[in-house]
Assembly symmetry: none
Homo-oligomer: 166 residues x 2
Amino acid sequence: MRLSDAIEQFIKTMMVEDAHQIELKRNELAEYFRCAPSQINYVLATRFTPEHGYVIESRRGGGGYIRIFRIEHDNSRQLLYTLNERIGDTIDEHAATNLIEQLYEREIATRSEALLMQSAISHQALSLPLPAEMKGALRAKILKSMLMQIACKNHQSTEEANHALR
Amino acid sequence: MRLSDAIEQFIKTMMVEDAHQIELKRNELAEYFRCAPSQINYVLATRFTPEHGYVIESRRGGGGYIRIFRIEHDNSRQLLYTLNERIGDTIDEHAATNLIEQLYEREIATRSEALLMQSAISHQALSLPLPAEMKGALRAKILKSMLMQIACKNHQSTEEANHALR
DNA sequence: GGATGTTAGACCATCTTTGACCAATGACAT
DNA sequence: ATGTCATTGGTCAAAGATGGTCTAACATCC
């Protein structure tokens, strides 16, 4: 079996047991699999992306860590469809607005969250001299990032939220 | 847990009890945590700056002390305004994170809003091939746009509250 | 054999902790 | 008043502890 697949399985097994969130040490994991630490990054970059339904958060320095959050299974299918099919690599403001509207109507996002997302991807927020394709790509990334946050937020404790904010 | 985080928590706990202003002895605190006195300075320098909403005053020599004040704001609108001013045309992720954390700690933004803003301006959300200056400018615009939204929302609820009182 | 996916490693960025050395203050002796 | 010195806090740089990025070499799959 490929190393990357083994690491992927290992992490996913950890997540099954332990709710929707795990914390790991890059060097320890690399040590365990006797591979280069950057191998861990490779696995995360190719198999634990927002498109796969995961959010990653990390910190360097003493006491550093890598945390992986997984979205809840209930909404995950719907959300992943939204992320991959409806947003994709780019999205214009109009489509994004419609999408946000829908999420609000379906009570996946609160009114407050919907308004905040809207303001983050509005033309005003992205009013810089950039090619339209770049703006579309940016909007897609930002929107995906925020949607994953909403999907994961219920798993994070307040304490962890503080960390996430640092 | 990291020593610095423990010290930070310790101080913040003191502040809550003690009306947003405390006095401490550097050496005593260092003794308590069994660390180098300069560790205290490190914590203050990285977590209790004006950017975090704190001001520090100290004196050396016999009877020396360190006083920490939490900056008060008349109301949330003022703070939002101040922060908006502080952002300027560009802001890096670290500074933005500090701002958002401050809003959360002062209950101007909810946890959900804080996390959402954080994810919108995170480096992951802006991970496209753009020069760093452009990313900083984008982050500033996005953040301001979101802060405006929150200011708006808060203002509306204030209006509603006023209305209800009439 | 070319496109795509893996792996390792060199080099980088960030955060924390400690310690040597510096500066200010106040008590006290002269 | 002035000098001395113990008492405190401040600065800065080095070392340590992590994780990130980039790229070349290698492997695998059509």
